[in-house]
Amino acid sequence: MSGSDARVEVPAPLGLLAELTHRCPLACPYCSNPLTLDDRADELDTTTWARVFREAAAMGVLQVHLSGGEPASRRDLVELVAAARDAGLYTNLITSAIGLDATRLVRLKEAGLDHVQLSLQDVEAESADHIAGYPGAHARKLAFAQSVRELGLALTVNTVIHRANIDRVAALVEMAASLSAGRVEIAHAQYYGWALRNRQALMPSREQVARAMAEMENIRPRYEGRLVIDLVVPDYYARRPKACMGGWGRRSLNVTPSGRVLPCHAAESIAGLEFWSVRDQPLAEIWRSSPAFQAFRGTEWMREPCRSCEMREIDYGGCRCQAMAIAGDAAATDPACELSPQHALMQMLAEQDASAASAAYAYRGRVARERPIAIPAR
């Protein structure tokens, strides 16, 4: 392991989420990017990213997830993949497929790309395009999946689950299988940033969630050995929180388009945290010593009921961003935990939002417009 400080032993991280850009042709209402997006002019250049990849590999990172926004919006994407592979990293491209044609995909494969993760919004084109805020997106995604298959690249299909598509989880898994994906990620929306803003339009009912979860367990054996099914569980109706990020500052780190280093992609929603930048400091030093990483690493920061809880090194108190969003205090127990004083409040908020009459999406990048965009009628 890489080292330690006075308070907490600092393990070596395994994964780096590289948000290459916040630019994206899609405008999904649950986007994981922050409400305030980094400008293109502030994005790290190719050379700096290459240095970040080398520093990450040297400190123990094994896998880099090239994400965004839409990473294909970067003209230097092929060079970035090559740089990550040169550094010895496993390269995973997380893409919407928009702006990534078959020619560039060939070049990405030649540069050493290990794996492609493609987002689908739904199984039905009309609904999928409405969710993405981009007419025609779904058809292009299916064509892209075909190109990935023809090139023999490994494919994961991922879908964020919410009220508009939750009744079709089984169909989504089957669609992933039919696209020859080796893995599918069914990720229930996590309500920070854009998803929090759109919670009223996205939150499914308790019954929908229970039905979808039961359905997943039913179909799972059917795909064994053929398709790996990973589930990001919904937690608004849960009794215990999930071990967010496998523990703060324990397994992975996130670099934003402009170079700030975060313990998780939503960490900027926590007011008062001090983030350091790869422009100013070596990555290893940021991981070890920056105030944002120190803030919630280990268990010393915990209060009751987490502090004496036997689950404290299993769920690490749940999600700091959710504690911030619901309890207004990032050091509180995640309200998804039934031991949290805000647990009942969180369930009430979910039920309230789930029963709200149809609400329009606030699309990222387009919310200031009077009429969002020309979206197909549902």
Partner: protein, 89 residues
């Protein structure tokens, strides 16, 4: 458990990598890092789509000068588990 392939190979998007930080061979796949122990990396290195499971067992028995039947159990168990996880096809 998934059926064992006749001539196993690492699935697309899966590769064996020596992790210098942790001084161990690891199997890297989509959102997966599997640390290997003991003979696992010697088995995985031979999963190249050309050798049969029997041939892999033969080679391991020679390499480790061990009882073939015991090696066979280890190899079969490991490959079956990795096939279920779709790391080996």
């Amino acid at each position: 458990m998934a059926e064992l392939p006749e001539r196993p190979k690492l699935a697309p998007g899966v590769r064996l990598h020596f992790d210098t930080t942790r001084q161990a061979w690891v199997l890297l796949g989509p959102e997966r890092v599997i640390e290997t122990e003991g003979p696992a990396s010697d088995i995985l290195r031979r999963c190249d789509g050309s050798r049969t499971v029997c041939e892999i067992i033969d080679e391991l028995a020679v390499l480790y000068t061990a009882d073939r039947a015991e090696i066979a159990v280890d190899v079969n168990d490991m490959l079956a588990e990795l096939a279920t996880k779709r790391m080996v096809v």
